[in-house]
Structure formats: structure tokens, C-alpha cells
Symmetry: C2
Subunit: 521 residues, 2 copies
């Protein structure tokens, strides 16, 4: 027998004994096939029809279909397939080193010393690098970074993190017992969300997230079966967060779930805004009034470029609002070694500080993280260097400052350039990139393009980005992967490519946008 | 007002206006307190009463209360508190470097080169180490281990893993597309379990795990809300796995859930047995008959010591059973850089190979792992060296083989020693440590000790281990943390301490056991 299992819209089987539409559930298809060959065929144990339904709901656009296609195109280029471009520029993910940013010498020297302590006898390494390495090794089991650490993270590194936070926040105390080291910020954010999600039906935990958001949040909530509550950032006011909108969102959500968590991303991802001190105060007051747990994603705290903008940590503002707030509002703040001037994504380093967490819940959190044994120790070591960098009287100081300043100055320049160029293109409107590493411009798409996208079952901005990739070799992420107001369209682009390449990319996008607009007008 | 919230059994408040038992749910206690001071007090947003109930059910004995007490005792010793011992020996966790095992030179040289590529110009490093480092860096974004890798892991490392598996299994093909690199084996095991768990009530996924088990399994199932199905290993036959027992367990479980997964740990943790080829065949046949997905935890595949014992991979046996099995039975096998001769736990390296996984499920798996971006890249690099070690014609070969052999020979000697000493102690009965890194002896406890433990609300072997810790400074994990037949008692001890220390530890346990038996007889 010849059996075709296919999409009946696009495929016209002409030699089949039996045709089954591919959208039919397997449980209907399989008995059919079994019946035909007479052999009892039970099919797979694990199928998309019977697997964890929460996992199916997970989506993560930053590494979604468009990136998979980009990888494929790269392979085709290597194999000699002719394209209208010679390389794919990937501006889909905040991956600084992949875009050519060089690692900071001091960080890598210490990591090499920790990996192969024989090098401590090598006089090529500066003394401060050796001291840092020795201090880290002293704190490791058997003086090896190959030993498991405590599940919460190496104690002396947690102490260094606390000191760093105290300094950052002008002396407001930080307790190392409240610091949890993690495998990047994603790990800690997921863990904190996991603690929160409970209840059934109208009692199910609701989590407020910004729209546009970084899709880790929606993905983790889908996985955990938590209820996502959208609050919209105000694009017309440079993606400002408005408490009126928070109130609208929480009030509406109370009809169908139990809102319990408020997530903030500042500086914003994908939106690049930096929140004002006033805004943060308003948010904290709102969280207290509405009895919400605050989760402050502050991984871009050192990526602030715009004049007049300054990073204010939620913790500092909370404590400056007085004991009425600082002793009651529950909060977790997240940081990472993957961004800022380091861009060390591959090491998976990060930390979370918890404030006012119920001690019994904290005990549960410690128990939960212990199951996975410990965060990667090299990532912990790297974090230690970030929170305890070379001091003015140490030999590595000058080079360190020079390298750090160069990275941050280049990012600031690229932030400015990106805004400037995009705002000269009719049909692209772009807020200033005040901080973080992304721009999220609004693009005007012709109605004909929107209709054609819908025919293909694609979001209009996915249709746009796919075409941009195929024609120009530029890989961006469509706004629909982050969420946006109904009827608007965006893309997220990182500002990470080297300036010369960024300029080429911006020109190409301009050219493409004009062509696209003409083609569909 | 003076309010006491306390355990009424152990505490006698004499000056309270109000006494509330500490076991009372907070929702009952809080309104009471609020009523008294007249201030509306809403309490914490996140409490143990309203948090994720699955997380509360998670238990992980390997880092449980006994280890927390051990850490406390270490601090007390440092502060000068007098104890009947001068140091705590921690034999609770398979953490080789913490127990003094030295890292393998070649591995660490390559990691240092990857961390700080300037060292490639240094003629102190052997050529093969440099070549490995260059090859890894070539495969990284921007030639930096600080870039994110593909979520499934760096492609050339997955190819190396496949070649390693093919060689291990006598040429049976392995496809790099079926390899997923992970943050240790725990990460991949949890992910695979997450894919599996679905359904409600009697349709809820059931997962068969050995008893005794490594508590990652019970912890992950509690977290995911999957149904744990216990099958018991046969202690009298050196912890053999008996298909009759598997059948009993699956049949009983079908009354209340949907058994879909069978987990095997070979070599065994905590039990140290190595399964025969015949046993593995029987298990595979059983899995096919009962339509179960096999999860083979093979992280101790290079830790086999006993004469006549040999590691047989589930994959090899599956393929040798012919296409009826090799083309149908779905399987995942797990490996790690944390054990064997490396013991590099802190790097969180590992991989999973999937066999016969439904392509659509595999697409879901790729999507799921992409949310967490990538496994730690240093762990991936380390794994690459493990699967692609120095070859006989390379300069590092001799040292590498010498170091590896020394580690494995010492482990074999300690495995033998442990069994020998324990079996001379009346009341301790110990199977041979055929493989892995643990012994799980059965201990006879006097009835009086059992009663006293129960009075304190402790499992009898927890009572025993706590006393051993307090009196001797030895930290083991009670058998109750792994599961055991009702009425039997055990502990898990690693064989990792250096031989001289291990001898002292075994003597101390002998002494303690005799004293304990006398005290409670």
C-alpha cells in the first residue's frame, strides 16, 4: 500500500491508496495504518500528542524559526550556493563575543589561572590576577574549580557580591545569605517563578510582565502553567512604564486569576529604555498596594548610554522610600555576567538577591537549588571578578579600565547611530536606545504585505524579517516574538555588530524597507 | 500583647497572652494577630502555605539536613568549639576533587588555553593541548568560549561525542543530531522527564525508578508532578534488577497512573552494582513489551572495578538485539564529566543521546533547551576532551594515561577495601562495590534506637547518621534519603576519601557501630 500523510492544501498525492491529512491527530491516523498492514503497531511511546502540553506552549523567538533558517543559509553559503550576500549578519541575540567583542584580559587571565593553577608559578601573569585566582581556589573544595560548590554559590563570592551591591547602592546593606549565584540570570528567574506558581482556576498565580517582553518570561510561564498578565509599555513615551496601565492590567486579571508577581525589566529588553527614579518609586508603591512580589531584571544595569539617564536599582529606591516599604515589599533582583562590558554569555554566570523573602520560603529555595547541585563554578569565578574588579592601586587596573571604557563607549556610539539612521527611513520609527543592547523600532507595513503574510500563516513582521533574511542576509527577531500592541509591527535588532558592519547593516535595512514598501504598495 | 508561636510539644510559654501552635496554617494565625494590634497586616506575598506545592514535596538527601549540620560543625570547629574530632570527613557526595583527587593535567591545560588564548603562544604547552584548544575556539562564536553556543551544544563537540559512542559500542552508528550537550547529567535527565509528564488522574504519566535510587529522580518527579513508581533492587543478589519485580511494579501502577518511562541507573547509584548483559537484554525486552520509554543513567560507565564485571551500554545491547528492538524502543542515555576518572563536577558538563525519539518531539526538545540558551561552554569544552582524549602518537598521551590509570586503580582499591572492612563488622552487611563510587551497606539497628528515633520524628538511619556525625565527624547520607525496603536501614558512603583517610573513616564507623549497638541494646 502507498500511504500519503500530507498537508492537503499544498500537496496533491496522485499515486496513493490512502491519504491522511497531516494535521489529523496521531491517535486517529495510527490505527488506520495498523489496520492496513495487519501488524499491531503501537507507535511511539512519546509523541507530540501525549507529551507535556506545557512544553508545547513554550515559545522562544530569540532562537526561533528565523534563526534556524539563518543557520541553514550559512551552511548553504559554505556549500557555494549563490545568494545576494556573502555572509549572514546575526543581530538576533545579545551575544557580544560572537559579534567580535574581545574578552577583557583580566577576567580571562584569572580564569586561566583557576583552570590550570600551575600557571601561578608563571611570572607572565600580574599579581592581582594571581591573588584573585588564589582566593577563589582557596574557597573551592580541594582547592579545585572542578569540585561542586555550595548550591547557593561559593560563600566568599556571595560576600563579594554583597559588597558590590552595597557600594552600588550607596551603602544600603546587603546580606550574603540573600545572594544566590545562578547559571546566568535565566536560571534564577525561572527558579523564582517556579516558587511562585500555585493554585487552580481563579486561584492560579498570575505574573505581570511587560509587553514587549524578553520571551524567557512567557516561556517560563508556559512551562510552569502560570498565568501571564500583560501590561503594555508606552511606545510614544519612549517605552515608559505607566502605573495606570499596571492598575488596568491587575484589575482585569483579578477576574480570572490571582496576580501575585510583577516583573520589571530595566534597562528594557527588547525596548532599550531606562526607567526614571520616579517611575521606580511609583512601581514599588503599586506593588505594595496590590500585594505583589517584585522581580527586577536588572541585567543591563551597566549598559546605560543616553545623556540624562541613570540606572537606579529597585533595591536602592525601595530602601530610600523608608521602612514602611523596605521592611515589607518582597523582591528579587537579577544580574548576569553575559551583558554589560563583559559579554561573557558562554560562562553562564549570574546572581539573584532576595529581599524580605519569607525565611521558610528561603529554606525551600535553598532545598530546590540543591537538587541541581551547583551553578557552573567557572561562571561563579567570573562573576567574582566582575563584582571585585582591579582597584586603582593594582597592576591590572589601567588596562582593565581602558578595555571596559572602550567597549561601553563603542556601544554608546552604536546606540546613537542606530537611532539616527532608522529615524531617517520613512516607515521606521525608533525610540532612543537609552540602555541595554537593543532597538525595537516600529515598522509600517503595507496592507498588501499584511494580507500576504496572513495567507502564509505568518505574523506580518515575521514575513518581513524572513524576507529581510533571504534577500539581505540580516537576521533580526520579529516583534511578534516579544509581544506588541495589536496592529503594530516591530523587530528587535542588537546594536552589537562592529560599527562598520552595523553601518552596512543599517543601510541594508533602509534599502530593504524601501523596496519592501514599494513592492507591496 | 505577648504572642508565642511555638511547638507546643517542646515549648512551655509562661508569659504569653496568646499561644498559637506553630504547625497551625498561617491563614489561621495571621488574622488572629492582625485582630490583636488593629493594624491590617497582610503578611508575606509568598509563603510556604501559598507557594508551589510541588516544590515543597521535593527532597534531596545528598545535600539535606545532615550536610547542613556538617557545614555548621565545620564552622564551630573553626571557631574553636571542642569536639571529639578535629575535622569533618564528608563522604556524602560524589565530589572527587573536594576529596583531594587531582585534576587531569591535559584537561586543565586545554581549558586554560581556551580561557586565555594568549597562552597559545606559550611554548610551555604541548602541541596536542594547543590543537584541541584551537579546534574548540574555531567552533565558538567569535572564536571565544564567552559566546553562546548552539542550544543543543557546539556542533563539532557533538560530532566528537558521536564518534566516542560509536567506538565505545563497537561501531554501532551514532548521529550527532541525536546528541544534546547539557549542564551535567542532572540537567538532561530533568529535561527528558519534563517532556514526558502529562495527563491527569489515572492518565498521569508514571515513571519507574529503582529503589534505592539517586534522589534527583524523586525530586524531579515531585517538582513536575509526575507519578513515581518504585521497583526494588534485590539486595540479596548484589542489588540485581529482576524483571519479575519490574512487572509487579508496572502492573500495580497501572491501577492508578499511566506508566510510560523506565529509569535505570547502571552502574548503580547508590548501590554500586554493575548490570549483566543478560539483565540489560531482559530490561529492554520488558520495555518493549510494556511500551515504556527507557532512560539509562550511565554516568558511571567508566567506574567499573570488580573482576568479571563489564559495562554494557543500553544502546549497544539494544542494537545487538536486532532491528525489531533497535528501530522501535525509544531511549535516552546520559553521561557526565563529573564522575569517572575526571571528577570535574564544578564544570557542569554532560550529554544525552536520544534513540528513536519521535522527530516532532525532538523539535519540541530543541525548542525547550533553547529557552535556557546553552549549556556552560567550559563544560562543553571539557566534555570534548573526555570524548577525544590524547592519542598514543600525541605528546600528552603518556601522562594522561598514567594519571587516569592512577585514579581508577585507587578507586578500585578503595572499593575492595570498603567492602572488606564493613563485612567484618557485626551488624553491617555490605555488597561488593562493583562500580560507581558508593557503598550502600545494610545496618542492623537495635529496637531501642528505632523507638528513640521515632520519638524524635526521625527516620532510624537518619538518627544513626546524625549521631555518627556528632560523635565522629563523619558525614554520610541515611538510606531513607534514597529509598529502601520497609524495615531495613542503610547509609550511602562515597569511596572517594584518600586511602589513608578512608581507612580511618572505616575504623571509626566500625567503632561507632559497635558503640551504638551496645548503647541501645
Amino acid at each position: 500500500h502507498i500511504i500519503w500523510i500530507c498537508d492537503l492544501k499544498t500537496c496533491r498525492p496522485n499515486n496513493a491508496d490512502l491519504v491522511l491529512p497531516s494535521r489529523a491527530p496521531r491517535k486517529h491516523v495510527l490505527p488506520f495504518i495498523e489496520g492496513m498492514n495487519g501488524v499491531p503497531h503501537r507507535g511511539k511511546v512519546l509523541t507530540v500528542d501525549n507529551m507535556n502540553p506545557n512544553v508545547k506552549r513554550v515559545e522562544y523567538a530569540v532562537r526561533g524559526p528565523i534563526v534556524q533558517r539563518a543557520v541553514q543559509i550559512e551552511k548553504e553559503l559554505k556549500e557555494g550556493v549563490k545568494k545576494p550576500f556573502t555572509e549572514v549578519i546575526k543581530a538576533n541575540i545579545g551575544d557580544a563575543h560572537a559579534m567580535g567583542q574581545k574578552p577583557i584580559t583580566f577576567l580571562r587571565q584569572v580564569l586561566a589561572l583557576c583552570s590550570y593553577p600551575e600557571l601561578l608559578n608563571d611570572n607572565k601573569f600580574p599579581e592581582d590576577a594571581k591573588n584573585r585566582a588564589q582566593r577563589i581556589l582557596q574557597a573551592c573544595g580541594g582547592h579545585s574549580i572542578g569540585a561542586y560548590s555550595a548550591s547557593q554559590g561559593i560563600e566568599c563570592i556571595r560576600q563579594d557580591v554583597s559588597r558590590y551591591i552595597e557600594k552600588r547602592d550607596g551603602g544600603i546593606p546587603s546580606n550574603p545569605d540573600n545572594i544566590f549565584l545562578s547559571a546566568g540570570a535565566s536560571d534564577a528567574i525561572t527558579t523564582m517563578l517556579k516558587l511562585q506558581v500555585s493554585g487552580e482556576g481563579r486561584n492560579r498565580t498570575g505574573v505581570m510582565i511587560p509587553i514587549p517582553q524578553y520571551p524567557l518570561y512567557s516561556a517560563a510561564l508556559a512551562d510552569l502553567g502560570g498565568i501571564q498578565i500583560n501590561y503594555y509599555l508606552d511606545e510614544d513615551r519612549c517605552w515608559a512604564l505607566d502605573v495606570t496601565e499596571l492598575r488596568r492590567a491587575v484589575t482585569a486579571a483579578r477576574q480570572h486569576c490571582n496576580p501575585r508577581v510583577l516583573c520589571i525589566i530595566n534597562p528594557g529588553n527588547p525596548t532599550g529604555q531606562v526607567q526614571s527614579r520616579q517611575c521606580i518609586e511609583d512601581v514599588i508603591r503599586f506593588a505594595k498596594e496590590e500585594h505583589l512580589f517584585l522581580m527586577a531584571d536588572e541585567v543591563y544595569q551597566d549598559n546605560v548610554y543616553a545623556e540624562g539617564c541613570k540606572f537606579h536599582s529597585f533595591k536602592k529606591v525601595l530602601f530610600e522610600m523608608g521602612p514602611e516599604y523596605s521592611s515589607t515589599v518582597e523582591m528579587a533582583s537579577f544580574h548576569s555576567t553575559s551583558k554589560c562590558y563583559m559579554g561573557e554569555c558562554g560562562f553562564r554566570g549570574g546572581y539573584m538577591e532576595v529581599i524580605n523573602l519569607d525565611p521558610e520560603v528561603k529554606a525551600q529555595l535553598i532545598k530546590l537549588v540543591s537538587v541541581r547541585l551547583c551553578p557552573p563554578v567557572t561562571g561563579q569565578a567570573l562573576l567574582d571578578l566582575v563584582v571585585n574588579p582591579p582597584q586603582p592601586d593594582e597592576p591590572s587596573y589601567t588596562t582593565f579600565i581602558k578595555e571596559r571604557t572602550a567597549v561601553l563607549a563603542a556601544l554608546a556610539e552604536k546606540a546613537r547611530l542606530t537611532e539616527e539612521v532608522f529615524n531617517t527611513v520613512p516607515g521606521i520609527r525608533c525610540n532612543p536606545v537609552q540602555g541595554a543592547m537593543y532597538t525595537f523600532p516600529c515598522i509600517t507595513l503595507p496592507q498588501k504585505a499584511i494580507s500576504q503574510a496572513k495567507e502564509k500563516g505568518l505574523a506580518p513582521d515575521m514575513f518581513y524579517c524572513m524576507k529581510l533574511l533571504e534577500e539581505m542576509g540580516i537576521c533580526l527577531v520579529p516583534g511578534s516574538g516579544f509581544g506588541q500592541r495589536e496592529g503594530t509591527h516591530h523587530f528587535r535588532m542588537t546594536i552589537l555588530p562592529p560599527t562598520e558592519k552595523l553601518k552596512i547593516m543599517l543601510d541594508k535595512i533602509r534599502e530593504f524597507h524601501q523596496k519592501f514598501t514599494q513592492e507591496f504598495s
